[in-house]
């Protein structure tokens, strides 16, 4: 039996090891390209073991380094973190395979550098998932931003540089100016940087200030992409598609909403929030973002841009779920991290496949190509159904819980918001398979999709269906999280 400390180390260090070994193997491309999926498998194995231990009622923790008195780098596996860690590591396997297919199929330059920072970003995301205190969380939040910068600017042209600047200035700016002082504020109020399952602020902080502290957190966590700090996400779409798929649909943005949920539940605490109503304003801001970005998505013709706005809207579901401050909504928000990740990564994989296979990136160009790429568009269709929340796809569970949660905390309007956004989702996502299958083909295009792209796409698509039937362990985890078990 491996001790929990080692298990955490294995899970966290395997991506870091990949990152360090990749440059040594830069001339042996086959070995280099196997490293990523291999690291993903080891890391996911660790993440699964950690999740199992949480289900057994244990709490793995690891003290890594003491910087000064009261400041340390430590890791604790919480139910929420176990879920995010699992999502990031499992999807990394498929994204790593996919990126090999994509980078080769597209003949991209600087592939070694790409894989180095790709693994680095996954490492940072996993460290965020298992962060044991607020400072560790902040440190790896920044590491994640910096490690994704070379990926966003991968093409190294003017547009990439401009997008990279926007990306950095929003993410680093908000986190340094707002998130850091918010964390230190909590430190000053509670006397430590630790978090706890029921929040640490109750009885220690004047409820009058709570909304302001919450606002500093909400706008400090730029990665959660709430309006008006969402602009970096569409800008980041200049990156190669595997980056958009794993990082800007899973690791980076999920790190954002994960942090948001962690702050809402483990720093403020659901009870404290519902008692003081500190998060009421956030409910409305998240609802507003959710609807507005859905509408913007309709007008985007670029596939990746549309998916980016759809992602922002889906992230707001999660923030909204946390802000509703009821146990049911929190469960729904947590489940949405998993189901949305599986669905959205599939959609991005498809977007990349179409780009590599047919060099098309606009929705209006897709007319009638469904028959030449049937599997790819089928995967898109299934992924969209999951995002929309249609059974038997995983996405239906999280939406169901979110709606129950809205009812539980008495926000009837929010239920209406969910319904309207579902219709909008269906409208802008279904347009793509509809054009592909039912419209008339305008021009012939030679299509060649590498097998390393098709397979991971189909697997993640299959995962969205699996999630519908095997949601139970995750639901149990969320129940532990909100003290139901």
């Amino acid at each position: 039996m491996i001790s929990f400390e080692n298990l955490i180390l294995i899970t966290l260090l395997s991506p870091l090891l990949v990152c360090l070994l990749t440059p040594l193997l830069s001339s042996r491309t086959i070995l280099r390209d196997i490293l990523g999926p291999l690291g993903g498998i080891i890391s996911s194995w660790g993440a699964i073991q950690l999740m199992a231990s949480i289900l057994n009622g244990e709490q793995p923790r690891l003290e890594l380094l003491q910087i000064a008195e009261g400041i340390s780098i430590s890791f604790v596996v919480t139910p929420l973190g176990a879920i995010f860690g699992l999502v990031a590591s499992v999807l990394w396997i498929f994204a790593a395979i996919y990126s090999v297919g994509y980078m080769r199929g597209n003949k991209e330059k600087n592939q070694t550098r790409f894989y180095i920072f790709y693994a680095m970003a996954v490492h940072a995301a996993l460290c965020i998932a298992y962060a044991g205190d607020l400072l560790t969380l902040f440190i790896f939040y920044e590491v994640l931003t910096f490690s994704t910068y070379p990926l966003v600017t991968h093409k190294q042209n003017e547009m990439a540089q401009k997008a990279g600047r926007l990306y950095m200035s929003i993410l680093v700016g908000t986190s340094v100016i707002l998130l850091l002082p918010a964390i230190i504020w909590v430190w000053v109020v509670t006397g430590s940087l630790e978090m706890s399952q029921n929040g640490v602020l109750d009885g220690r902080m004047n409820p009058e200030y709570a909304p302001y502290l919450l606002a500093m957190f909400v706008f400090g966590i730029g990665k959660a992409a709430l309006m008006p700090i969402h602009k970096w996400l569409p800008a980041a779409m200049v990156a190669p598609t595997p980056v958009s798929a794993l990082l800007h649909a899973v690791a980076v943005v999920k790190a954002g909403v994960f942090t948001m949920l962690l702050i809402l539940t483990n720093v403020f605490g659901i009870d404290f929030l519902s008692k003081t109503g500190a998060s009421n304003w956030l409910v409305w801001l998240a609802s507003f973002t959710l609807l507005t970005t859905s509408i913007i998505a309709i007008y985007k013709d670029d596939i990746k841009a549309r998916l980016a706005y759809s992602t922002i809207s889906q992230l707001s579901y999660i923030t909204l779920g946390g802000a509703l401050a009821s146990s049911m909504a929190t469960q729904g928000a947590t489940l949405h991290i998993i189901t949305h990740a599986a669905g959205k990564i599939t959609l991005f994989f498809v977007a990349g496949a179409i780009y590599v296979g047919a060099k098309m990136s606009k929705i209006s160009e897709l007319n009638g190509h469904g028959k030449s790429m049937p599997l790819i568009f089928l995967a898109f269709f299934v992924g969209s159904l999951s995002i929309i929340g249609v059974p038997p796809m995983g996405g239906s569970w999280s939406k169901f819980f979110l709606m129950l949660g809205a009812a539980e905390s008495g926000y009837i309007t929010v239920i209406a918001v969910f319904c309207i956004s579902t219709i909008l989702n269906a409208y802008y996502l279904m347009e793509i398979p509809a054009r592909a299958f039912f419209f008339k083909k305008e021009r012939e295009v030679k299509i060649k999709i590498p097998i390393l792209i098709t397979i991971p796409t189909l697997i993640t698509c299959f995962l969205t269906i699996l999630l519908f039937f095997f949601i139970e362990p995750f639901e149990n985890l969320t129940s532990i999280m909100v003290n139901k078990l």
Partner: protein, 497 residues
């Protein structure tokens, strides 16, 4: 033998470079003079470590110069406060001396090198003396020794660029005004208290509340020191002096000179006078606090629009000094500790950045401006790596020394109910990312105008690597810096505050 050595350490640490400077000037051989300089800075560094251990045991060491008992004679005081700047000055002095051995002959004529080293040691001796002495007038003497030596060092830059003469002249005049103001203040205080010993002064000023002469004397002293510490708006001598001094000299001055004056400022504010006194409270909150905040932003904004890299870093120093004085101005134990943490870390950061830029200008044999940085990152990976790490440290990124400073500074200002100050600090440090990023982008992303092949020299990058390593080390294990700064703050403002 060892007993005598230990007993006389407080004076030896000053005498070692001071005496050596007199010997070095007589030695025409370059190699020998740089070796002697190296040896004496190394010995001074060892002495300061020994002193640190002594201070851990005895907490305060008082040394009566020439056995004339204080307060009549001149007293040297080493306590938990003054040991911090002593360690900084000797450590940086030692590292920059290694660094200078290769860079110096490039900019200075062979015949003047031993003179430069003599001045170099004199400046270091002056700075160490400045922080060890417990006598207000002796402090003035050391202040002048270090200033005049630095002025002459800056003027040596004229062998490469004539502008150095103007810079040195500015430095001389403004520095002399500052020193004069300080000595007028000391004179006034001496007139009403009849003592020059700082410990003695602090006991006697208690009875003189609201004495007009006392207030005037205090004002003169503070303004004089503020000039030396380059606190906005008395900083105007600094950017030019740092920019046109010979490269190795800018490294030394940027990392140490203002730090010593900042220490003196803290000493006068908190130890000679009392923090509970209305005079000090008003000075802190109506003079130093607003000036620090303006400095934070003015320095950063000037740096953003600056093209010449050495001057850019000098402007950034003005902003960083703003953080330190801001920490002093908040006036709680935690904030003064944060100020000292940043004094230490900023010396490491700025020293390293100036070293990196100096190495670059040595390699390309040109003044370093933003436009001729293009694409150099690939040609000199080691220097570039160190530069990036230290820039991140300056911006206060986690796992670097700079982050520890920011963390404690923010924490101190939030616990003193100054959330808005915390936000302003962070806002200005986010702005500082702009100029750092501009340099990194130029080094890394832009294409070089023509192919450049550079072979990095181990004699140059060794000390750069050491100081970069220290930047990371003190970000990962900050307990030494943090603990000694907190002890210093306790000594200055009292345990309870």
């Amino acid at each position: 033998m060892t007993d005598i050595l230990i007993k006389n350490l407080p004076i030896l640490v000053v005498l070692c470079p001071l005496m050596m400077s007199l010997i070095v000037v007589l030695i025409p051989n370059i190699f020998l003079s740089s070796l002697l300089t190296f040896a004496s800075t190394f010995v001074a560094f060892i002495f300061s470590i020994l002193l640190y251990q002594e201070v851990q045991i005895h907490s305060t060491i008082s040394y009566a110069l020439g056995n004339w008992a204080p307060p009549i004679g001149i007293e040297y005081v080493i306590d938990k406060v003054s040991i911090i700047p002593i360690i900084i000055i000797t450590l940086i002095g030692f590292l920059t001396t290694i660094f200078s051995s290769k860079v110096m002959p490039d900019e200075i004529n062979e015949t003047s090198i031993s003179k430069v080293y003599s001045l170099w040691l004199l400046a270091i001796a002056g700075l160490i003396g400045l922080v060890t002495t417990g006598d207000a007038f002796n402090l003035f003497v050391f202040l002048e020794i270090s200033s005049l030596a630095s002025v002459a060092l800056v003027a040596m830059g004229a062998q490469k660029d004539k502008q150095a003469l103007v810079a040195a002249y500015n430095y001389l005049i403004i520095g002399a005004v500052g020193a004069t103001l300080y000595v007028i203040g000391v004179g006034l205080l001496y007139g009403i208290t009849g003592t020059l010993n700082m410990a003695d002064l602090s006991e006697r000023v208690v009875d003189l509340k609201n004495n007009k002469a006392l207030i005037a004397g205090f004002g003169f002293m503070i303004v004089g020191i503020m000039v030396k510490a380059a606190i906005f708006p008395m900083h105007i001598w600094l950017p030019k002096a740092y920019a046109y001094a010979p490269s190795a000299v800018s490294v030394l001055l940027a990392a140490t000179a203002t730090k010593a004056s900042l220490y003196i400022l803290a000493r006068i504010l908190f130890s000679v006078f009392d923090i509970a006194d209305n005079l000090i409270i008003n000075t802190l909150s109506y003079v130093i606090l607003p000036l620090s905040i303006i400095a934070m932003f003015a320095g950063t904004i000037m740096a953003i629009y600056e093209k010449d890299i050495k001057r850019l870093l000098a402007h950034s120093s003005v902003a960083q000094i703003g953080y330190i004085t801001l920490a002093f101005a908040i006036g709680t134990k935690a904030s003064v500790a944060a100020g000292f943490i940043h004094v230490f870390n900023h010396a490491l950061i700025k020293g390293a950045l100036f070293m990196a830029i100096t190495s670059i200008s040595f390699y390309i044999q040109k003044r370093v401006t933003l436009s001729n940085l293009s694409g150099l990152g690939r040609a000199m990976p080691i220097t570039f790596f160190c530069f990036v790490i230290c820039s991140l440290s300056l911006a206060g990124l986690p796992l670097t020394a700079g982050f520890i400073s920011k963390l404690y500074l923010i924490k101190a200002s939030i616990s003193a109910d100054g959330l808005w100050i915390a936000i302003l600090i962070l806002f200005s440090s986010a702005l500082s990312v702009i100029y750092l990023w501009k340099m990194i982008e130029a080094l890394w992303l832009q294409q070089p105008k023509k192919e450049i092949i550079i072979k990095e020299n181990p004699k140059i990058y060794t000390s750069l690597l050491i100081i970069t390593f220290l930047n990371i080390y003190f970000g990962l294990d900050a307990s030494f810096v943090v603990d000694s700064s907190i002890e210093a703050a306790e000594k200055l403002v009292g345990v309870s505050k």
